[in-house]
Assembly symmetry: D2
Homo-oligomer: 432 residues x 4
């Protein structure tokens, strides 16, 4: 399996985290999958991803003190491999794991993904648990000094035979379940509290081990790395081993984070390619936050939502919506099904300019002769944003605004628009 | 208990680490204590300290792969408190802990010390072990993200009721055993791989908790913090809570480390006071290294050994010898019993000058009217080292060289000597 | 000259910067000196300090663009030494420098101080200017890679004969003028934009050269180093060479800066001694800011002003008021003449506790048997602040509140008070 | 002028620095140009570049103390623009600048380049010199806090009208002289003493200003940025504005530096494109070092020389030889004319693997169907180095070794060779 032969366009899907935190159940996953199949699949959405701690027993029960209960009860097989908590995922009973749920999702014409923490359960290491297919044990695979800063479940793996055997064994299991997408956490940046931490990408060898295990398993499983910000200097390494990697710390519905994403996209603008997608993180749209104790609608204004969708699409980020799909309102649905905007994925994009007040991007679309440009007002007041055709590397041309469908008449001087605060305009130019 | 009312002079003793690594046994501790009582006690040596992993079962048995066996077998009581491994410390059988050994040491007119790692055993946290005197459990006291970089035994403690209760419970136990000295490791600098790491003194609250526990226990137990380098900016905090703290990473018999100690002492020259001793680490003299797989005599030359002793004494460092005392040769014994040199302890010292080639120190001795000065040749060739009386803040005066006993005739220009490479001279001036 | 034989208590005085910025004139200095002599001298205030750019021609004339005009006109003698601008300091005409002004100030029973930038004028280096008493020239003394981040006037000096000769020549000149106090800028922390910058104290050798020059000059001139924060690890070096050094970046009338000073004082609590004073910077009281284009009264509330005075005094900071003394209102005057509070200077202080909400300090006063304690409410709401007698290391005793003069009745439990937001209480205990 | 429309392949040429340091003369430049025209031009070598301080008077005359004489004499026109020192470059007399020399070089069928320091002469700023075409003066363009760490000649330029006008004025002058290549120094990394310095690319705006000035001038002048290491995170910015940028600090004939270059090339492997060339620095071959006071032949062994040439070519680095061409020996000449190796330029390369012992690269050549692979032994002993065809992304194929011309028989298992220490093998595969 060569990982650049799948994920040829940025993966699109739904992820349970933004709404459910650690607490999602099988029924809820199924319900979201149904909505996706009905309403979103025709627009390219296909992955249904169960996020963090599906193996934990009653994971939200100490939510006022801990996001992740320390030393809590985890479901595990005899080979030190985590299993879905059967109270929350009843179909997993009898050692079937996620196979039944994956089958259900596949039956809807969709793909199935799971979240994992890098490493091996701490409980397995302390119990000297077995590793499948070997005489080695978890205590020799685990690195007792490698722990996640924010989650207590795992020890990182040493670079060696025992560690590789363990990763091989879990990836083999996931392949047997029919998993299509693996979001591995605490691996892309293991020190994301500190900007430019010298040790931020200290677990490169675990990325390599996982990548090797997936290649062996022979199933085209997307490898997605979290959390960010990915270390830009190591771009080549992410590109070599992963399908997508987070270029930002956790993203939420806060304008400051959205504005900061323009800086992140600037850094990563040259790094999108088939099988290789810098990832701007989930889209916090629609209904969010229930598992965090504060169910709410997104705090983004409609203009900010369009700005986010436009940036993600012209940049070429994977699109994973965090909205609870069973509660999807019409406005959010229209965002997720804005065919003209989604059509930018994947494109070859370039930032034309950026400062504190504005940003301009341009891109070649996937279809020959199609070009895109997007204007963003990053300031807190209405403002004209624009660029000359020369800056855009475009001939003066008429175009179409993607959100409104309005024709853009030819203007010699360049492309510009007067935009409300935090708003954008995006244009398609054909026959270039 | 106010910790500044004991350890009024720098503690002096023997520590098992340099010779035995993790593997020391009761018989060996007793044998060393006997030698100390016979030969060294009259010169001020009194602490017998059992260093790291006295609770571990067969700790040296995987020495070629690990200094500390990951997820190994540790002796522990029902309250999550580590106990001496009874195979190595037979008198501890039946839950008596170190009480019999402490009693033996006390009987020799000496004091007894132990090493601990900060925190609570990981095994206890995973087992939800009890904490004595409370309904709280180890999983709530342990901080799963706080692990030592180099030892796999413990989790750090959260700042709170459960953590304080645990520290209270172990200190109470140690007091009941008759412990006089506690060397707590992985606490003085928790990131000693990186010079000036911003998180180097990130576990201040554990120092405070330990200090509180000792004050409560009511027994004057010296609190010694390791490893270094201590964070000089936080000098006030070490001084407030501990009796001694390591100002250097592990010190061994290597000239480069000894030369570097002059820089460390420069930084800490104003911080020695009764109950407060910046610590230059153990003295790697005599026979060393058996537990590390390479028994040897110290690699320091005789001149370097005197330079070390002189610096430690004039600076006011605690003196803990690492030499196996049962194999003490005459030369090493003479170093450890150099009464005139040891008499500098404790003094109020000041560095007069230091560069790559030389260093000069001066000090007021503990007795009124006594002043000291020491000249060090840090270069690799014979050299004259000296300073004017004005630089030394001394009147021109005759003196006595401490190592040779030779009288120093009065010289108007100042104090100077021609010294072999790495050698020193030290002088006492009386009636100043 | 041994610098520890003067500045035996923290220097107290007035500095022109907070009100005048770069623009102060001789007449204004004289007017302030008169007020100080009349109203403040009996309370210990004695230094009159002319701050930055007294050598610059029309320094405020481009104030909207530059605080310091780049490549502006500077008065300089034939030996590359800066002279007062004679338009602003008319008595300096004819090469008399500050001698007449110093004489005037001395005549009032006060002392005279000036500000300097470390180094040699860039103009002198480019002109290959002479250095007095040598055949060396400024181009060889200047280090072309050593420039101040924020002021364009000088190059730093290389460590060598030419540099020492230049510093000797300016200090000799200042001594001949009758200067009593030298505030040298861009030397205590040369990279104060970055917390813990590794190069923050990169110009140690210039401190040493200045200190040597002062010792040679034979006049007891206080050496004050700016800006801060001083590098706490290098405390010993500041103590060895300077009389006072700034432990903070520029301090202004903003509560956040005042609250942050408690952290700074915590770090430096053990470092005050005769001749050695960690410096909390000028007191922004009364009328301020005219030279900055916004004359105003201090933004500190009366409670904050008392908190500032109390902290500076119990900690032992030098006191330099920035208030324009000719516009002193009664309230500010009463602060500057609070004899009971000022009486704490100098004391041997110790922080008892500090967190985000409160701080408690205690001190031994200069008189035998006198002890002080201060309680600070750092929170934004009224709060009880207190400590036990044991924490204070004080016997339970009655005392006197210093600001109100009220008697404090004996309370067994300890010392406590209910304080308004940002307010303090300070107590004297006698006969301890 | 779009800078991506020239420098379509990595620039190749000669640079005066490695042999002459600051001291090269016109006659020496002409002599080297002649050799290049005769012997190297047919192989693609075309740029003749005069490196640092062509404007300085007798620049090597204080070589034992300074590489760059501080505050020395520089030739400058009335508009603050540096001119060639006419003692060293006689044809520049009468204000003709480098025009006659450029004309001579062009007459040989070659291109002409010069080195500049970013910024404006300090002497001009202090003299308030004019800026051509404006009423602005140098003191307003210069940023007095922006100085080079290692060269004393210039101040950096503020981002604004005066600065842009100055850069426009010098670039216009260089275009009028016929300059084809500008190597701008102290701009690619302004803090190259510190790995990952946060301020390393602090003068981005000067890159943008220069790039704008070149676009305006309308002459296709290659913009080359020094010194390195370029900040990999800012790859997009270098690519947008420059034609080549140094990915390493100064490179010399030392194996450790050559080995370290493999790490640098790893980081930059995806960033070569027409108009955009990550630069491994000059080739220290043949005779070197006269201006540095130690004329010598390269210290690289023949194997190391081939390793260097192979890495530079397969990676796609510009090739600038530092060898004195009038003293070219046959072996060096054969390296510089190794047509089969040079034919790799430019290729689309990818590192296959790298560790401390070895590296393997593969590339697509500029001709359709041609693929390359290179094996490097980085260890100090003979070793087998190889990779599977799958790792190389190549079908099993016969090939040709580029240095020997030997045919490589088909081996199913992959590509491998037994290589002497520091040696390489490079292969071409056709018809893929």
């Amino acid at each position: 399996m060569n990982k650049d032969q799948y994920a040829l366009t940025p993966p699109m899907g739904w992820n349970s985290y933004d709404y459910y935190d650690t607490s999602v159940t099988e029924a809820q996953v199924r319900a979201n999958a149904q909505v996706m199949a009905e309403k979103l699949r025709p627009f390219g959405w296909e992955y249904v991803v169960v996020d963090i701690q599906w193996y934990a027993h009653r994971p939200g029960s100490m939510r006022e003190r801990f996001q992740y209960i320390p030393f809590g009860v985890l479901a595990m097989d005899e080979y030190s491999r985590l299993l879905p908590d059967s109270e929350r995922f009843p179909s997993s009973e009898g050692g079937r794991g996620f196979a039944p749920l994956a089958e259900y999702v596949h039956g809807l014409g969709l793909k199935f993904g799971i979240h994992i923490m890098r490493g091996i359960p701490r409980a397995a290491a302390h119990a000297h648990g077995k590793i499948k297919g070997t005489a080695l044990t978890a205590d020799l695979a685990a690195d007792p000094s490698s722990v996640c800063r924010w989650n207590p479940d795992m020890y990182g793996l040493r670079d060696g035979e025992a560690g590789q055997a363990y990763y091989d064994s879990i990836i083999e299991l996931y392949a047997s379940w029919g998993v299509d997408f693996i979001k591995c956490d605490d691996i892309c940046n293991t020190d994301n509290l500190v900007e430019h931490s010298p040790g931020a990408y200290a677990r490169k060898h675990e990325v390599e081990m996982l990548s090797r295990a997936i290649a062996k398993a022979g199933r085209p499983m997307v490898l997605s790395l979290s959390p960010g910000p990915a270390v830009a200097e190591q771009a080549w390494h992410y590109q070599k081993h992963a399908n997508m990697w987070r270029i930002t710390d956790d993203f939420w519905d806060d304008w400051r984070l959205l504005k900061a994403m323009f800086h992140r996209c600037e850094l990563w603008q040259d790094h999108a390619a088939p099988g290789c997608w810098p990832d701007c993180d989930m889209l916090p749209l629609g209904r969010l936050g229930k598992g965090f104790g504060e169910e709410r609608s997104t705090r983004f204004t409609p203009d900010e939502q369009r700005t986010m969708m436009t940036l993600w699409c012209i940049f070429g980020s994977p699109l994973m919506t965090g909205a609870e799909l069973t509660k999807l309102d019409d406005e959010t649905l229209s965002l997720l099904t804005a065919r003209e905007v989604l059509a930018m994925l994947p494109c070859k994009a370039r930032q034309v300019l950026r400062d504190e007040e504005k940003a301009v991007w341009t891109a070649s679309g996937p279809e020959t002769g199609t070009r895109y440009a997007a204007l963003f007002n990053l300031s807190d007041a209405p403002a004209w944003v624009g660029a000359s055709w020369e800056e855009l590397s475009l001939p003066a041309a008429p175009g179409t605004e993607l959100w409104t469908g309005e024709a853009l008449p030819l203007r010699e001087g360049g492309l510009s628009a007067c935009l409300p605060p935090h708003a954008c305009a995006a244009y398609r130019f054909d026959g270039i």
